[in-house]
């Protein structure tokens, strides 16, 4: 390991341990690390976006693409929020962003999250090759329909609707449990990765010089 690698291991370990102490309790070491990371991440965020402004607005404007002055001014209008009298100017850039966002959202949601889901539910049943697949397809369809009934707000959940919503809730709970398990094992890999870094790279490599 060269000097910079060793220093890097020390710096990395310093911050990793600082974060991990949060599990024990709040302490000055954790707070120092936390404050440092705020500064670092804001700088990173600002730098990347300044680069975007430069490449996507300032350089094209200097080359004659003058229309890009408009978003630049709209972006600057965001800062009027800092002056109570002119704060309402910031509604303009916000409106453009939200307008575009809603266009993107509607276009993306209709197909991917609704129609394709319905399609998959129907197709799974009718393309099933075996009885087992067919049964699974039907279970998925039942789960989908009952889960939706759980979110019907305009009727009391009584009688048939109540039973359906109850079944839907069980499907939802299994789904939540599975999501938990998927994430938990994935995070387990990550904590082990950090521990391997601390033990093999920092302690063995940088401190004991064994690498």
């Amino acid at each position: 390991m060269n000097f910079w690698e060793i220093l890097g291991a020390w710096v990395g370990a310093f911050f990793v341990i600082s974060v991990l102490t949060m599990l024990w309790k709040d302490n000055p070491y954790f707070r120092f690390g936390q404050q440092a990371i705020i500064g670092a991440t804001i700088a990173h965020y600002v730098l990347f976006n300044m680069k975007n402004v430069l490449n996507m607005a300032l350089i094209p404007i200097s080359k004659g693409n003058v229309i890009l002055v408009v978003p630049l001014i709209l972006g600057l209008l965001m800062y009027t929020r800092l002056s109570p009298d002119h704060a309402w100017f910031s509604k303009y850039p916000t409106s453009v962003l939200v307008g575009v966002g809603i266009g993107v959202m509607i276009a993306g949601t209709l197909r991917g999250q609704i129609i394709d889901q319905v399609k998959a539910t129907v197709v799974d049943i009718f393309t099933a090759g075996t009885t087992f697949d067919l049964m699974n397809g039907i279970i998925i369809a039942v789960g989908t329909v009952t889960a939706i009934t759980f979110w019907l707000f305009t009727r009391e959940h009584k009688g048939a609707l109540g039973a359906s919503a109850k079944i839907g809730r069980i499907f939802l709970m299994v789904s939540l449990g599975t999501n938990w398990a998927g994430e938990e094992v994935w995070y387990l890999t990550q904590i082990i990765g950090r521990l391997i870094f601390l033990i093999n790279v920092w302690i063995k490599g940088a401190i004991l010089g064994m690498a």
């Binding site: 998927g182 890999t189 391997i196």
Partner: protein, 282 residues
């Protein structure tokens, strides 16, 4: 004391300070990292399919590797990568590496130069393996590559035109490639090689991916893809199967141990619940 107030145990069992759980998990995970144990691993069918797809290739076959590595997700996949590179290099195969992500180039560099070292297996750059570098391919790029490699990568990573590389002289499209190893970190990308390589040309494809993406790959095995590796667990399986112990073994041991603390506490929590419940009835 304890016998007189049995309910107290149950309440205590359900209210243990979480920090004991955290500390227990920590200790359990550190043990196998310091001293790998090598707990047994079941080698699953997709892993066997993956391994067999490589070892059954006749000598001199050409393998293309689409390597989309991501630095942030390396813990999950490094075992798969290293074991795969070792299996490839110890056989008489010609390997083409290309990267649809910029991270991929850096990771591959680290792994080939520092860990696997192809020259150790007597492999020569340009004769036995080639690195084509990075291009933001996407699904259309993978399709273009299948019909004409030179349209996407006119040169290799070091800027040498492909025609000047001995190994690449006769290789230009899917007909010259015998196996595609497709590595991806977005779950739905598993469909790319299937749509672009398997369906139109009937290519042999195997894939490597994250643990969470395994279930998305499973429906395509064994018809469209001959095998797949998902997550560090299956990376360990490949290490066991191929006899190349690596980072996966430590990871698996630590996983096996790390989860024990949680299981113990789950039992505590349920005992506490049942104890409180039946304690109340009496």
């Amino acid at each position: 004391m304890v016998e007189k107030e049995p309910a107290n145990i149950w309440i205590k069992l359900g209210n243990i300070d979480y920090r004991w759980l955290y500390a227990l998990s920590f200790v359990l995970m550190v043990i196998p990292i310091l001293r790998p144990i090598g707990l047994p691993t079941l080698v699953s069918e997709p892993t066997k399919g993956y391994y067999n797809a490589i070892v059954s290739l006749p000598p001199g076959s050409v393998v293309a590797v689409s390597f989309q590595g991501s630095a942030a997700l390396l813990d999950e996949q490094e075992a798969q990568f290293i074991a795969t590179w070792k299996i490839l290099f110890e056989r008489d195969l010609k390997v083409i590496f290309y990267c649809p992500s910029s991270d991929g180039v850096i990771i591959l560099n680290e792994e080939l130069e520092k860990i696997v070292k192809p020259e150790k297996y007597g492999k020569v750059y340009g004769v036995d393996y080639v690195r084509l570098g990075y291009a933001p391919l996407g699904e259309t790029g993978e399709a273009a590559l299948a019909t004409n490699i030179r349209s996407v990568f006119p040169t290799d990573l070091y800027g040498t035109p492909l025609d000047e590389i001995p190994m690449m002289k006769d290789i230009n499209d899917h007909t010259d490639i015998d196996l595609l190893i497709f590595q991806h970190t977005a779950c739905t990308s598993v469909e790319w090689p299937i749509r672009q390589w398997v369906v139109p040309y009937g290519m042999k494809v195997i894939t490597m991916t994250l643990g969470c993406c395994g279930p998305m790959a499973a429906p395509y095995y064994p018809k469209q893809i001959l095998g797949f590796l998902a997550g560090s667990g299956m990376g360990t399986e490949l290490e066991v199967l191929s006899g190349h112990p690596g980072p996966g073994a430590v990871m698996s041991d630590a996983k096996n141990f790390g989860v024990l603390g949680l299981l113990v506490f789950l039992v505590f929590g349920n005992l506490s619940y049942l104890g409180k419940r039946f304690g109340r009835k009496e």
